[in-house]
């Protein structure tokens, strides 16, 4: 249980890194291919990557507290 926290951070960081990198890469690619080497797709891509990583991280950390409700249909 104590290790879980640490494990979560590891996962989170790894995932974020990957996502940022991926975003960066995709941004670069797009920037090169479609947007005439502007900077904004790169920033955009990395931002997307970061955001995704951040969201995933947050989701991971929140997961114990997540309540999943079920809608019970009235019969």
């Amino acid at each position: 249980m104590a290790n879980e926290h640490g494990q979560k951070w590891d996962r989170c960081l790894a995932d974020s890194a990957v996502k940022i990198a991926t975003g960066l890469g995709v941004g670069i690619v797009f920037s090169v291919l479609f947007f005439k080497r502007r900077t904004w797709p790169v920033a955009f891509g990395s931002g997307v990557g970061l955001g995704m990583g951040y969201s995933n991280c947050q989701q991971d950390f929140r997961s114990p507290y997540q309540l999943h409700g079920h809608r019970v249909k009235e019969q």
């Binding site: 249980m1 104590a2 926290h5 947050q58 950390f61 114990p64």
Partner: protein
Amino acid sequence: MLRVCLKGANSAARKCLCGNGVPLHPLQQCRSYTSGGSGSSAGKIVAASVLTMGGGVGGTILYANWDPKFRANVEKSIPYSDQVFGLALGPAAPPPVINKPRKVEPVQISSMSEVWKDSKQPKAKEVQRKAEQPDAEGPPAPAPQETLEGEACVFVAMILSAEQNVLSVFCIPLAAAKCTECEHEPAVKERPEGEVAARLAEQDKAEQDLLTSLSSNLEDALGSTAKVTLQAIGAQEAALQAIAQHTRQLREAMEAEAPPDKKSTQWRVLEDALSERSRSVDEAGAAVLKAKAELDKLRGVIDGAKHLKIAAARPSILAAEENLHSMVVDLDSVVTRVQTAQSEAKIVSQYSELVNEAKAQFQKELNSITPEIQANWKGLTGKLTQDDLNSLIAHAHRRIDQLNRELAEQRVREQIHIDSALEQQKLEDKKALEVAISTALEHNREQMRLEQEKKVEETREVMEAEMRTQLRRQAAAHTDHLRDVLKVQEQELRSEAEEILNSSLMEKETEYRRLTQDQLDSFTLDMNAAYARLKGMEEAIDSHVIAEEEARKAHQLWLSVEALNYTLKTAALNDPTEPLEGAVQAIKESCAEDEFAQALATALPSESLSRGVYSEASLRARFYTIRQLARRVALIDETRNSLYQYFLSYLQAMLLFEKAQEAPPAKLSAEDLDTFKLLSYAAYSLEHGDLELAAKLVNQLKGESRRVAQDWLKEARLTLETKQVVSLLSAYANAVGLGTTMAP
């Protein structure tokens, strides 16, 4: 009805208005009136029918009230009419009950009770009639009383038994029965049986004697009276004959025209006959008187016999009375015949006298005219001269004239005389009739009385016979009753004797039983005592064995618990102990019967058995890492768990400094529930060896801190549990061991 009439009148009154008036209102009124008119006729019909029905019903009820037969008919034919009649008139009178037979009985019974009453007056009615008893034997006054009452008893017994009286008026003047309970009067004491029978026999004998004497008396009287009466009748007959003869002769003498000497003889004969007749009449009269006297005497005797009231004499009395009556009747008839004959004779004699007188007169006349002519003038035809003849003829003519005149006069007077004679005759006839009627009535009355007496006698005989049978029956019942009573008594006595026998037997038996029981008890007591001692010794030995067994077991338990304890100590720093399973198994084997130990052994958590538990030291070491982590995530809980919060919480952990160890207070307040404070309390208590308190404090963490400390908490719980159970077991083992060592 009145309203209908009024309506009708109104309609009639307003019809003209309706006819004249056109406006709506009157028309409407008319309409209502016309409807009322038709309604009135219907109403009239209804009223008429109601009236008719009511009249019919009322009439029926009234007539039923007057004639019960009609009422009965109506009730039979029309259902429920009886209820209506009952309401209107009251219940119908019941038909008259024929009461005649019931009236007859009381008369008889009253006569019997009169007899009883008569007999019940003992003091007044001193029994003079019974004084004729030849051998009284000096009986006291009750005895004749009792004989009389004994007689009356017969009747009364019949009555009282018929009325189901419990009193056993039970005196039977029959020789066969016993009369031990004769109690008509309280003064009469019970007599012994033999005496009573003897007395009854005496009474019977006396009765018989009396009866015979009475009957002989009666017969004598009857005989004499009959004789005398016959004599009287004979005398009367003779008188009758004499009278008849005399009369006949007189008549002959009057009518016959015999020559003088024959006439004189005739007259003499007549005189003889007359004297004869008078004599016989006198004789007859005397005889009748004598007969009457005899009859009176006989009547007196009969009355006396009747007064004696002996039942058996009744028929003879009745016969005597009948004879008397017949004699009286005969006598009377004969007397009447004589009287008629006498009256006839008187007539004839009167006639003869008259004739004689006439003849004498004629003779005198003749003598006066022709004195020399003798009586026998038939032979005088030669002697008579012309003058004599003429004078005689003249005299004869004169006489004839005179006689004619007399005749005429007589004829005139005849009627008057006849009338007066008739009147006289009527009066005399009436008198004679009255006399005859009275005598006939007397005779009839006497006849009826005699018949009644005869009938009474017959019924009395029948009742006597019946009473005899009843009394026989009663005697039989008495014997049966006595037999039953004796039987019952025998039963009772027998049962009594048996009871006494049984009770004494029971007593003896109970005595015997008691003695045997006492013996048995004492023996049993001794035996029990010996047995108890034996048992005690055995138990002592057994308990010794048991105690040793227990001691061994306790020792084993203690050993196994020590082994367990030792296993607990084998925990390395960061590794758990050995699995406790083996030791626990050993414990379980060593104390198979001990429930407490078994329970405790099973109470160990399964993980401690399978995996082992961590030691306190390792837990303490682990705590610090946990603490660090808990500090870091102190702000994170259900609501705050975004990454930003994580950042903040990390910041807080970096910036917030708390005491490393702080002594926890006795009571936790609300502000003590802060994470950092709790962690420092827990650290303090851990450092001081109180894992339990540390665990409790850690348990108060909330949110993410709690989550991260969950692992550690679980491990701490396991360790605490195991430690607790083990300590209990060892305490128990010690106690048992102590117990066993103490026992003997």
